[in-house]
């Protein structure tokens, strides 16, 4: 039984297609993050799961029950919003029990739930305050509390941390993670922040233009991006994508960028499909953190490149090198001194590279 299943879901506003044939499944207790740039349809998808938006095509199942036409309140879900959406005229207690009162639950049960949740979230001191008297973090906590008292099957979070300042955001991120570890409730979490996505999610679905680009574990998203969009979207700075061609001779495969006179051997690369590799136009992807200043692996590929630019950011520095007139970014500890405008010896960690078809932009 899947806690949440989305089947061939399409949604359009007028003539704009927002979601195109989305398929998605979540197992019990998973933390799924919907990640993507603004306008990719992730919030619409969440609203559809909540029942706040109608569906044009396809179905949504919760616990194998088709809820496509079920009212939000009957879906056994709870949602936390970006603006917290606490009812301004009610105090914290009234905010938290509003849903239970609507559901006509007995007073004793409501009281019990309230005490349990408010002490769990440490908001029991605030019960008589109005939302306008709370700090950002407290409001966030109350909003989560309002969701918790309903004891839902699925938690929906719509960019819950983006209204907080940077420091508080990191704290609240940890709290949400702890909360999930304790409660083990299924979560669907929307964000455009990749750090949030990577640190919170057990599964990440990366979306762009209403299509899921990759739905995988954070490790696979980072190490084996399924196309150039994912490769480019995840990581800061993002993955270097160098244009070039593959060369195949007997049992050896090389990558050559245009205008270079050296070949990078990629024999150990795990191809999805090994046919017709010779002369294929590809993008060679390597993350800035996988370019080293010292040889660390026997198979590291050695290359001499000219350093053009240095960006110092405290614990590390980002260097820009000229690789056949394409920018190549590398990340080093800031203790390393590299002279600008001079050839520097670098080592590519070839176990960490990705290759993409230059035309379809898919991983090969």
């Amino acid at each position: 039984m899947k806690t949440l299943k989305i089947e061939e879901l399409s949604k359009n506003f007028g003539t704009t297609e927002v979601l195109k044939k989305i398929n998605l499944e979540i197992d019990e207790g998973n933390f799924l993050v919907l990640l993507g740039p603004s306008g990719c349809g992730k919030s619409t998808l969440l609203n559809i799961i909540a029942g706040l938006e109608t569906i044009n095509e396809g179905n949504v199942y919760i616990d194998d029950y088709n809820v496509s036409k079920v009212e939000p309140k009957d879906r056994n879900i709870a949602m936390v919003f970006q603006s917290y959406a606490l009812y301004p005229s009610m105090n914290v207690k009234e905010n938290m029990v509003f849903g239970l009162k609507q559901a006509k639950i007995s007073k004793e049960k409501i009281e019990e739930q309230l005490t349990k949740v408010s002490s769990f979230l440490q908001v029991d001191e605030l019960l008589n305050r109005k939302p306008s008297q709370l700090s950002g973090g407290q409001r966030q906590r109350v909003a989560i509390g309002r969701a918790l008292v309903r004891e839902p099957r699925i938690f929906l979070f719509d960019e819950p941390l983006s209204n907080l300042d940077a420091k508080l955001r990191v704290e609240m991120r940890r709290e949400i993670k702890k909360l999930h570890q304790k409660l083990k409730t299924t979560v669907v979490y929307v964000t455009h922040d990749q750090t949030e996505a990577m640190s919170l999610g057990t599964k990440i679905a990366i979306m762009n233009h209403g299509v899921i680009q990759q739905n995988d574990s954070p490790e696979n998203i980072y190490n084996k991006p399924s196309n150039t969009f994912v490769a480019d979207f995840i990581g800061s700075p993002s993955m270097n994508l160098i244009k070039g061609k593959l060369k195949q001779s007997s049992d050896k495969i090389f990558f050559t960028a245009e205008g270079t006179n050296f070949d990078i051997p990629i024999n150990n690369y795990d191809f999805n499909n090994t046919s017709q590799l010779d002369n294929k136009e590809v993008c060679f992807g390597i993350r800035p953190e996988h370019i080293h200043f010292k040889k660390s692996n026997e198979d590291d590929f050695e290359v001499n490149l000219r350093a053009d630019l240095s960006e110092y950011i405290g614990h590390e520095q980002i260097m820009t090198f000229n690789y056949a007139n394409q920018d190549l970014l590398a990340k080093f500890p800031s203790t390393i001194k590299i002279e600008l405008n001079k050839e520097t010896k670098l080592y590519f960690d070839l176990t960490q590279v990705s290759l993409f078809d230059a035309n379809s932009e898919d991983r090969i």
């Binding site: 939000p72 309140k73 949602m79 919003f81 509003f98 609507q102 309002r146």
Partner: protein
């Protein structure tokens, strides 16, 4: 040496700018006082005249202070002289106006709030067109609809009645009240409504429990606006009502214009002030609350 001359130069400039500033300030006060007196002058004449006897009015000038505080003309304006036919006084019409203005303000404000709520939080296809057509209502000159409205009231059987006037004022208030409430609700995050829907609240519950309790500032604005409009209206009142059913502004007009013998300026002035007092009261009471409502708002984080 050099530094010294520069220094004295600064002093001169400082002096100069001080004088200029002083002159400008006095000029500003002069202009403000001038305009203030220009506006207060008619009110002064009204109050002073209403407190004089006819004898005094004939002998003195407009500005002369009354010899004693004489409220007789106020009593006459409010309650009449006590003799039978032809004695027009404001009391019954004042209550007519109250009976008209209270329900009309209530219904137009309530309907405007509802419409604004639907237009912002329950968007539907073509809602912006509905709003646009409603806005037309704000721009149609009232003279243009007098005849069709008279026919409509006749057909409904409520012409020349307070109820008829309540209907007219409610209908013509809706475009304005809708505009006010729509613009206010647009700024309130729709996530509030979404959260309430997930919590299981329906259309009316969301309106009454969540939106209305935070609408105080805009309700006050709307009430001030509607009250002033309806209370001060003469056109609809004089067209759709006469005799017993007339509102106060129509009665005031009848009183002042239908002079039987001598023009009683003191009574006329007292009547005019009485007819204007309720709007003043609404401004003073609600205006205070309006500012409180604005500052205590804090809807968003």
């Amino acid at each position: 040496m050099q530094a010294k001359t520069v220094n004295s130069n600064y002093k001169k400039l400082e002096q100069k700018s001080k004088y200029t500033n002083m002159f400008l300030r006095w000029f500003l006060y002069f202009v403000l006082i001038l305009f203030a007196s220009y506006f207060i002058f008619p009110l002064y004449v009204m109050i002073v005249t209403s407190l004089k006897t006819m004898e005094e009015i004939r002998q003195g000038t407009l500005l002369t202070w009354p010899s004693s505080l004489n409220f007789d003309s106020w009593l006459v304006a409010w309650g009449g002289r006590g003799y039978g036919a032809g004695d027009t006084f404001l009391r019954p019409y004042f209550w007519n106006s109250i009976k008209m203005v209270v329900p009309a303000v209530f219904f137009s404000t309530f309907i405007g709030a509802m419409t604004g709520y639907v237009l912002t939080k329950w968007r539907f296809k073509g809602d912006s067109w509905v709003f646009l057509f409603l806005l037309f209502g704000c721009f149609i000159p009232f003279q243009a609809i007098l005849l069709p409205m008279a026919r409509t009231l006749g057909a409904l059987g409520i012409s020349n009645s307070i109820i008829g006037l309540v209907v007219v004022h409610t209908v013509y208030g809706i475009p304005f009240t809708t505009l006010f409430f729509r613009n206010y609700y647009v700024s309130i995050p729709t996530e509030l409504v979404k959260a309430a829907r997930i919590d299981g609240a329906g259309f009316f519950k969301i309106f009454f429990k969540i939106l209305l309790p935070i609408s105080a500032p805009i309700i006050v604005v709307t009430v001030i606006w509607q009250f002033t409009q309806i209370w001060n209206d003469f056109l609809f009142g004089s067209t759709f009502s006469f005799g017993e059913a007339a509102p106060i502004q129509v009665a005031l007009n009848n009183m002042v214009l239908s002079s039987t013998s001598v023009k009683e300026y003191n009574v006329d002035m007292a009547s005019a002030i009485i007819a204007g007092i309720p709007t003043l009261i609404v401004y003073v009471l609600a205006g205070k609350y309006f500012i409180r409502g604005l500052t205590s708002g804090a809807v968003k984080g």
